[in-house]
């Protein structure tokens, strides 16, 4: 009886602690960003100069860098990941399928800093040699290493979605005389699409928030590439800026508030991505 009465207060205590943690996080983000916007105005978001020592805080280079890195990563990872999922779930025999799954799960478990190590000591020398770059630090490198990191997410989710299409549907389609291409495009992909889509959005979110690997290879240069589609130049992403400058910005300074505003921008992007994943997912 005593235990009975204790359960509800304990549960409520735990929930309130979690809630307080979440709320205080939100409050600190917004209050610091509010201070920043009061001194510099909302236009800081699309100004192009970032020199903390001269009080110039423009977010555009980092936002553009983040978008470019994500675009490259998705362009590489989506075709490869989907193809790998289709091949392993439709063409490979069962044993190989589970080996492919296991290896992808291992790839998903590799910590981001190890990817950074791979990027720094394998990818950069490679790019440097083959593209005649100065050091190899570039948006392209960041995009490629990100694509490696989000590949398992895309592939595993797509494979789950394809596996959940029932076997009868495949047999019925083949009986109707559809060939393999038609089966894939008309039957399998439309049915698996909700799962594939949420995998893609999850991967997008992961790529957005990745710090260590990107920070090691992107070069951390606060400048918009010239011209803006030049992905071979070193650049900056939102996460790498926070990671690089978090240690050196003095606490309480405008610089620090600007970094927190970067964090807020990241959090807003991430929230939009995960909300859109939920919304459409429930309709389909």
């Amino acid at each position: 009886m005593n235990k009975q009465r204790l359960l509800l207060p304990i549960v409520l205590l735990g929930c309130i602690a979690a809630l307080l943690g979440g709320l205080s996080l939100f409050w600190f983000l917004t209050s610091n960003a509010w201070n920043f916007f009061q001194s510099f105005g909302i236009s800081a978001l699309w100004q192009t100069e970032w020199y903390p020592y001269e009080d110039l805080y423009g977010f555009l280079p980092a936002i553009l860098g983040t978008l470019w890195a994500l675009c490259i990563a998705m362009l590489v990872a989506i075709p490869c990941g989907l193809a790998a999922a289709i091949v392993s779930s439709e063409l490979l025999p069962n044993t190989w399928q589970s080996i492919a799954r296991l290896s992808m799960e291992i790839l998903a478990g590799i910590p981001s800093v190890v990817y950074g190590l791979i990027g720094l000591w394998v990818l950069l020398p490679f790019l440097q040699e083959h593209l005649n770059l100065l050091t190899g630090h570039s948006l392209l490198a960041a995009g490629l290493i990100l694509s490696l990191m989000i590949l398992p997410t895309i592939m595993l989710m797509a494979q789950d979605a394809l596996d959940s299409v029932s076997q009868e549907q495949r047999e019925a389609a083949l009986n109707l005389g559809l060939d393999w291409n038609q089966l894939l495009i008309r039957i399998l992909l439309p049915q698996a699409w909700p799962g594939i889509r949420s995998g893609l959005l999850l991967a997008l979110g992961r790529g957005l928030g990745e710090t260590m690997a990107v920070m090691l290879v992107v070069g951390s240069l606060d400048r918009i590439p010239q011209p803006f589609y030049n992905i071979l130049e070193p650049a900056q992403t939102l996460t790498s800026r926070i990671g690089r400058e978090m240690g050196e910005a003095a606490f309480g300074s405008m610089h620090f508030a600007a970094l927190i505003t970067c964090g807020l921008v990241l959090a807003v992007f991430a929230t939009i991505i995960s909300l859109s994943a939920q919304r459409k997912g429930s309709i389909a």
Binding site: V11, G109, I110, A270
Partner: protein, 273 residues
Amino acid sequence: MKYMLVLLAIPALLLPAACLIYIVYQALPALDVDLIFGSDAVVIGVNSVGQALWSQISGSLLMMSLACLLAMPMAASIALFHAFWASHKQKKLLTSILQVLQGIPPIVYGLCGLVVLVHLLHWGISLAAGAVILSIIILPLLASNTIHALERIPLEQTESALSLGLSKVSVITRVWMPQAWPSFLTGLLLSMARALSETAPILFTATVFSGITWPDSIFSPVTSLQTHIFYLAQEGSNEQAIHTAWASAVVLLTLVLIFSLTALYLRRYERIS
């Protein structure tokens, strides 16, 4: 079409093995027992003297277990609230909040932790700050895993247990725990692997490069394997340091894989039985 897909898939399917083999190959020159358990200071880097990796390993594991200890009660109470008291609307809201929190980049949590824990509460760069930050990072994952584990238990069992007059506590200990412990454990192991692999949020809030074998109190900084790799990776021209970095990567990878592969095994075991 088929051949094009196979052609696209081959690199993706071969990459994991290639990555693993390459990491181990690079680590081989530095990988031996002395590196991990050796007591003498090993000189790595031009200007840095690091100890054997043992202190980094213990620091990482210590931080991970503290984070899990903090996150577990919170996750359990969220899941219990979800199971017993929440209305349908509240359940939907709760899962959607958890998903949003899970999507927020870890570095944002790290930044907030730096402001609140390290500076405003004057904890300094400390084990406690790192553990709290990591626990908040893994909380959404752990909570949603626990909720899913509870949802997989057939509703009839819970209802018949409750209608037999069992109290909520005994439903938890007598009906749920014996049946669903593999899925609880899976969730816990996955969050442990996650906590071990996060680097960015603890870089400026909990860790230093070297000099600490075992933290004196929870308010002193620690060394961790993740950040060790990061510092060594930037040791540009030094062959030995890079090999040590790869070796640390192998050690970290082994630890993470122990947790996540056990989780996968448990999940499969549960599906079969």
